[in-house]
């Protein structure tokens, strides 16, 4: 699953949060299919999706979550 955020600040915040919670993830370039942006996104395992979604709601961080293409 791919998490796409408004800006780099949110990516770093969420990266820290997931490190803290020991949730497996990695930072990737945003895939072309998702945005014209040149920035970063975060990939997580599908099994963690609901947990991450609720963490982000708790932290009031808006995100768009999509299936990984390609």
């Amino acid at each position: 699953m791919i998490l796409i955020f408004q800006n780099i600040r949110k990516v770093i915040k969420v990266d820290n949060l997931l490190l803290d919670k020991k949730i497996k993830h990695r930072i990737l370039p945003v895939p072309k299919e998702h945005s014209s942006e040149c920035g970063m996104c975060i990939e997580i395992e599908p099994v963690d999706c609901e947990l991450v979604r609720s963490l982000l709601i708790e932290q009031n961080i808006s995100v768009s979550i999509s299936e990984k293409l390609s």
Binding site: R9, I12, M40
Partner: protein
């Protein structure tokens, strides 16, 4: 010995981690901020964001996402003043302002955009809070105040002043205060605050920024690439991107981060400073410009000598005693006008945590000699 007494211009020395972190960015990390996804850019962006969070702690603000970086306090103040003053509005300010506030206000006044007035203050520059209300007009849209004067060191009581200002947004210039005295933006309910990285925070030049509580009321000053919302030609509405077009000073922010993580334990106490000031005040050939209440005194002050003008005094301090200070008007015409020193200027002494009691004692000895 540390004979550099011009820390209000820019602080020296810095924690060693400032230069170490800057060279770490230049020599090994590299990487831009917020524009790519390879490890260098992630590592660089991580430091920038941690720096933002640490600044928020220093400022006493919870919402660190509304802290934005600029190249210095002047840039931040220009952004907030020019971006926030609507045509026909009125701005109130203090008698102790730096030109970083006074010149943007005067620029807007000359363009016919705003009117501005000065709040009355005591001879030492302390604002008289009770007199604020009589100066507020129906169209007053901003109050801009220097938190701690760069000429006399007088500190304004922001929490009291805020009560008298009411709902009108308050912009604080914390260039001299942040890093030197407590700043509590949330508790005081300050709306906007500008800071610089290279003075009390002990970071490198070229760093600074601001916090803004209600960004919808202030337009960006600079437009350009942010690494976000690139599909539209408008600036993003969200922060910090709205005010951070262009590649930031990543190397400088590494240095500022190094300073924030390694603030030194002061080598002298406020009491040591207060005693020094008290002794100098008793010397008959020096007139001291300072806060009349020592509790409202930051660690800087100005003097005028009865026989030497300010540049002569500064030259003697340097050539005979190796002491580096700044003479003249300190980019603060309004403050010098208020103190009655706008013709001859003053000599300003500004301190840092790296001054030991011995350094202060040496300075006092020099004052005694020059008082003869």
């Amino acid at each position: 010995m540390n004979l550099y007494f011009d820390n209000s211009a820019t602080s020296f020395p810095k924690p060693k981690e400032v230069s170490e972190e800057m060279s770490r960015h230049v020599q090994s990390i590299g990487g831009t901020y917020g524009r790519s996804a390879y490890p260098r850019a992630i590592a660089a962006s991580r430091i920038v964001e941690d720096c933002r969070d640490r600044i928020a702690v220093k400022l006493g603000v919870e919402n660190s996402g509304n802290v934005c970086f600029t190249s210095n306090a002047t840039h931040a103040l220009n952004l907030l003043i020019k971006g926030g003053c609507n045509p026909g509005s009125h701005v109130l300010t203090s008698s102790m302002e730096h030109n970083a506030v006074a010149r943007p206000l005067e620029y807007l006044r000359n363009l016919g955009v705003i009117e501005w007035d000065i709040i009355e203050s005591e001879p030492d520059g302390s604002i008289i809070p009770e007199l604020i209300r009589s100066k507020l007009k129906a169209n007053t849209s901003l109050v801009v105040l220097c938190h701690m004067s760069n000429v006399s060191g007088v500190i304004q009581p922001i929490d009291v002043i805020k009560d008298y200002i009411g709902e009108v947004p308050l912009l604080l210039d914390a260039s001299q205060s942040l890093g030197n005295i407590p700043v509590e933006v949330d508790r005081w309910n300050v709306d906007q605050i500008a800071f610089t990285g290279h003075k009390g925070l002990l970071g490198p030049t070229g760093t600074g920024g601001f916090f803004i509580r209600h960004p919808e009321s202030v337009n960006p000053l600079i437009h350009g690439g942010t690494g976000s919302s690139s599909h539209t030609l408008s600036m993003p509405q969200f922060l910090p991107d709205r005010y951070e077009a262009g590649t930031p000073n990543v190397t400088g922010l590494f240095g500022l981060h190094g300073a924030l993580c390694n603030a030194p334990v002061p080598m002298h106490t406020k009491d040591d400073f207060d005693c020094l000031l008290g002794e100098i005040q008793r010397m008959e050939n020096f007139k001291v410009y300072r806060a009349s209440d020592i509790k409202r005194q930051g660690e800087l002050f100005s003097v005028v000598h009865s026989r030497m003008n300010s540049s002569e005094l500064a030259n003697r301090l340097l050539s005979e005693y190796g002491i580096e200070i700044r003479s003249g008007l300190h980019c603060a015409l309004l403050a010098h006008r208020h103190l009655g020193t706008d013709v001859q200027g003053t000599c300003r002494f500004s301190f840092s945590p790296y001054h030991s009691l011995e350094d202060l004692q040496y300075l006092l000895k020099v004052f005694y000699e020059l008082n003869k």
